[in-house]
């Protein structure tokens, strides 16, 4: 099995105070911690588990800054064999369709059986990159995969749909799978492994190395224009109902009826 796993370096905003920069164009990330995107972490684990079972190689692919190399080394410590990091200031990173083009540029021309990636990035939540990547590569895909079975020349992918419904599909290889969290239990990247991973190859490339025309993936190529970023205004519309219990109940009932809620 020759596997590519695409991962993204994202801020952890779960508890952080999110502030927009002065220009209103980006989130101020100076006080965030960054790490591998959660769903991508599961994709890494799944890739390594498939490799451990069927042999083969796993290549990590990521578009991101130098700082993200710590995350890439951690993925290699878990069992990925080599890595390619794409860094190029011209890439319109806000557009998942263009990110897919860049990733495809890094994969095209090489043999592969599977490309795994998380089903959603925690920062922009677009859920589009993986699926668009399949399109760019001209291969089949399955999204939101919660279980994978490797068969002869194809995979059986269990897709988790709304309400926990499972859809089972067979997809011919090569294919792209976008991995849902919970598919496995991602392992820990021990320091011993991280030290050993320093010996593995991590290539850093730009658009020119990939043969991707900048004009195809820069802001001018995007159909998205980020106009403005702002925090939703907090509006308070709570109404306190006063009075004796019966009066309160009556008022509440009339509000619910008027609002069409009952």
């Amino acid at each position: 099995m020759k596997i590519f796993v695409c991962i993204k370096y994202v801020p952890d905003t779960s508890e952080a105070v999110v502030k927009v920069n002065a220009e209103g164009t980006a989130v101020d990330s100076s006080r965030f911690s960054f790490d591998i995107n959660d769903a991508d972490n599961y994709a890494v684990e799944e890739s390594v588990q498939i490799k451990e079972k069927y042999t083969g190689t796993v290549t990590v692919l990521s578009i991101g800054p130098k700082e993200s190399e710590v995350m890439i080394r951690m993925a290699m410590a878990k069992g990925c064999d080599n890595a390619v990091r794409v860094e190029d200031a011209r890439i319109a990173a806000f557009d998942p369709l263009l990110l897919a083009k860049v990733l495809a540029g890094a994969i095209k021309g090489q043999e592969f059986d599977l490309v795994l990636t998380g089903c959603m990035a925690a920062d922009d939540g677009q859920m589009a990159t993986g699926v668009a990547l399949a399109e760019e590569l001209g291969v089949a895909h399955a999204a939101m995969v919660k279980k994978v079975e490797i068969l002869e020349g194809k995979v059986k992918a269990y897709r988790e749909l709304e309400g926990g419904l499972m859809e089972v599909v067979e997809v011919a290889l090569p294919a792209v799978l976008t991995i849902q969290t919970g598919i496995n239990e991602p392992r820990y990247a021990p320091i011993r492994g991280i030290r050993e991973a320093q010996k593995k190859e991590l290539k850093v490339v730009g658009l020119d190395d990939l043969g991707v025309a900048a004009g195809d993936v820069d802001a001018s190529a995007s159909r998205i224009v980020v106009e403005k970023l702002y925090l939703p205004e907090v509006v308070s519309s709570a109404e306190f109902i006063e009075g004796e219990p019966e009066q309160k109940a009556e008022k509440l009932a009339s509000i619910l009826v008027k609002g069409g809620l009952v």
């Binding site: 952890d12 508890e15 952080a16 100076s30 006080r31 965030f32 911690s33 790490d35 710590v70 951690m74 878990k78 239990e185 991602p186 392992r187 820990y188 990247a189 021990p190 320091i191 011993r192 492994g193 991280i194 030290r195």
Partner: protein
């Protein structure tokens, strides 16, 4: 540092932990506090770990994660062994395979990436200082007392008050001190006990270089865990390390601290394992409490070196015990309640969390209070 790694790697388990020294007297297990609620029998591990081929099986046993690193077994062993280190060694094998609980994984990765086990950003470590008149330490400016704030105290909203109160007490005493506003990073206490030996080695190297750079006479820690770790596991640290209760006792003795109010309460002091059993500090916290007018200081039956562990150490903050039996913290709070104590005074962030939880679970909130020493003292100063 490289040489150190090589030497540990070439040693066998038996050599590293001096297993042949064990006479199987059973004193370790006899004193182990968690035996009342889990299957852990540490003497058995000391015995079985002798055969190298058994190690992998032993590492898979769930009870290796029940040890709280309270050090009772090490204190009691007549042959000077540290039985708990065998358990930590087994944990290391698991950590190296990557197959640990997700909570442990997250804590370890967080220390590697952000310098704290709580998955918080490095950048917000000093937020507790906001609005306070804190003196900051700079490497090139001599200072008497260089403060090291524990990760748990720096980030946990319940515990930040410990650092804040310390600043208030120091300002009041006119002490020469400095806190760090950058570069402060986990001491590695729990990383060591969770078994991530190589990460711990890296942390020791980095923190030693960082702290040695300061022209400080001594380092003062807020948590006994940092205290015990710096004292016992940082061989190249170039300054002595104190726990804050030692500094406050000193300031009190010199007449730089005094209490403006009295406290008509029955108080019991809970000896934290890392402060008492592991570091031998028993008297200073008691001296501080006795100096408060009105305080009636009572003692647990199990106090000082026999103090009952609260189960907060040994990485247990990230490993839930499977046992449904009464938690030791609950036993401790019941003991305090039976003594009629109105305040359980503690001097460790983990003890605050475990004992306060237990007190709430038992429904004693109306009758008693778990208070960190700095909380009591700052209220009275």
């Amino acid at each position: 540092m490289r040489g150190m790694i090589m030497s540990t790697e070439s040693q066998t388990f038996t050599e590293k932990f001096d297993l042949l020294g064990c006479i199987q007297c059973g004193r370790c297990t006899g004193g182990c506090p968690v035996t009342v609620r889990t299957n852990l029998n540490v003497r058995r591990f000391v015995y079985d770990a002798y055969s190298e081929e058994k190690l992998e099986e032993l590492a898979k046993l769930a009870e290796i994660w029940d040890c709280t690193a309270c050090h009772t077994c090490a204190v009691r062993c007549p042959k000077g062994l540290k039985p708990l280190e065998v358990l930590i060694g087994l944990r290391s094998m698991l950590v190296d395979s990557g197959k640990v609980q997700s909570t442990v994984r997250n804590a370890l990765e967080s220390v590697y990436l952000e310098g704290n086990p709580w998955e918080k950003p490095k950048a917000t470590r000093y937020d507790w200082m906001e609005g306070l008149d804190v003196k900051l330490a700079k490497p090139d400016t001599p200072v008497e007392n260089l403060f090291f704030v524990c990760c748990t105290i720096a980030y946990d909203p319940r515990l930040q008050v410990v650092a804040k109160n310390m600043v208030r007490l120091l300002n009041k005493a006119g002490a020469d001190y400095g806190f760090m506003a950058e570069g402060e990073s986990c001491c590695g206490s729990e990383i060591h006990t969770l078994g991530e030996e190589l990460l711990f080695e890296e942390i020791v190297g980095e923190n030693t270089a960082f702290l040695n750079d300061f022209q400080a006479r001594r380092v003062i820690t807020l948590s006994p865990h940092c205290f015990a770790t710096y004292k016992a596991r940082y061989p190249h640290l170039n300054k002595p390390v104190l726990h804050y209760t030692q500094l406050l006792a000193e300031l009190l003795q010199q007449g730089n601290l005094s209490w403006g109010h009295d406290l008509q309460k029955k108080v019991v002091f809970h000896d934290p394992c890392y402060l008492g059993k592991q570091s031998g500090v028993y008297d200073e916290p008691r001296r501080l409490l006795k100096s408060i007018k009105g305080v009636e200081l009572v003692e647990f039956d199990r106090s000082r070196e026999r103090s009952l562990c609260c189960e907060g150490g040994g990485g247990k903050m990230w490993v839930e015990s499977e046992s449904k039996k009464e938690r030791l913290a609950e036993t401790r709070i019941k003991d305090a309640h039976n003594l009629g104590a109105q305040i359980v005074a503690v001097a460790c962030p983990f003890c605050v969390l475990t004992l306060e939880d237990a007190m709430k679970a038992l429904g004693y909130e109306e009758e008693m209070r778990v208070a960190e020493m700095t909380e009591l003292l700052a209220e009275l100063a």
